[in-house]
Amino acid sequence: MRKKPAFTFFDMNPLILFCVIYVVTILINAVILGALSNVAYISIRHLTDNAILCGAPVVTLILFRRVPLLKYFDDDDCSPWISVSVHYVLSCALLLGFGFVLAVIRAVPATLADYLGLIGVYTQGYIVVVIFGVVIEVSKVESVNKNLKIIQESQKRKTGGVQSE
């Protein structure tokens, strides 16, 4: 099977993606929300809720690879930015769905502000992961160019300084 390359998070293995998003979300919850509201956001309940909510981008990714209508967005022909944008919108929709189900299960009345807050935190995590992926990609290109230089130098040595064409 062809190995999936890692363009940002989009081509990651769903399990790794889940772990990355989970950790980033927990950190954002603990640092930003915890500091703003002075509430400890690392509780069993929050960890469980976040695990369910973090399933949204992963489920969307699996849908991208399985549902014929969505497969185009996982294809080479589709611009990565379009892929990421569609993934973001769909995963937001799923996230709201999961949020609603959680609110019903926990019998907690969720307001519009709660849902907007949920999308806000998710968006922050999403941006962090995308930027992280972009940085990795840039560093990869630099290392590839270094290797290309090594190959070119060796070719020059072989051809006595003249590049064969």
């Binding site: 062809r2 190995k3 999936k4 390359p5 890692a6 363009f7 940002t8 081509d11 080479d76 611009s79 990565p80 930015w81 972009v134 990609e137 840039v138 990869k140 290109v141 290392s143 590839v144 160019n145 270094k146 290797n147 290309l148 090594i150 190959i151 070119q152 060796s154 070719q155 590049q163 064969s164 064409e165």
Partner: protein
């Protein structure tokens, strides 16, 4: 047609011995296959057949299930599909970079990421070839392995 195959581990090189009464299209195809698996491609241009050294090829592109072979100054045609070429050139300096193209690693000047975050490879004739997302890891790995090999 009678076919005889013999495994001999003591041989230094694989060889194919073809005995024929007449040069039929099938026999010609066998020759073509043998030559394509080597370091020469039998390409066509305006009805004439040319032997192109794979070291002179910048990249091979698939157009309508046929392949176009690009050298520094010329374009040649091959009736062989890209998939078959990829298999016959396996182990050489060619690497698949998209559904449509095979690149000669030795002819890549540099790679870059565009604003759309698609990797492009700049060839020695300054042409830029888009590297597909699914193939970029293969390209990166092939370049890294070749760099390790040449620096030994």
């Amino acid at each position: 047609m009678k076919l005889t195959a013999q495994k001999d581990v003591s041989l230094d090189n694989d060889y194919v011995d073809v005995r024929y009464r007449e040069l039929t299209p099938v026999i010609h195809q066998i020759f073509q296959l043998c030559e394509e698996t080597g370091s020469v491609l039998l390409c066509k241009k305006e009805g004439a057949t040319y032997k192109i050294d794979v070291n002179d090829v910048l990249y091979i592109e698939s157009v309508d299930r046929k392949s176009c072979v690009y050298t520094k100054d010329d374009v040649f045609h091959l009736p062989t599909p890209l998939k078959q070429l990829e298999e016959s050139l396996a182990g050489q300096q060619f690497v698949r970079v998209s559904k449509m193209a095979l690149l000669n690693i030795y002819k890549i000047n540099s790679v870059a990421n565009g604003l759309h975050f698609r990797m492009t490879a700049e060839m020695s004739n300054s042409e830029k070839i888009v590297v597909g997302r699914r193939y970029r890891e293969d390209l990166i790995e092939a370049i890294s392995e070749l760099a390790k090999e040449v620096s030994k």
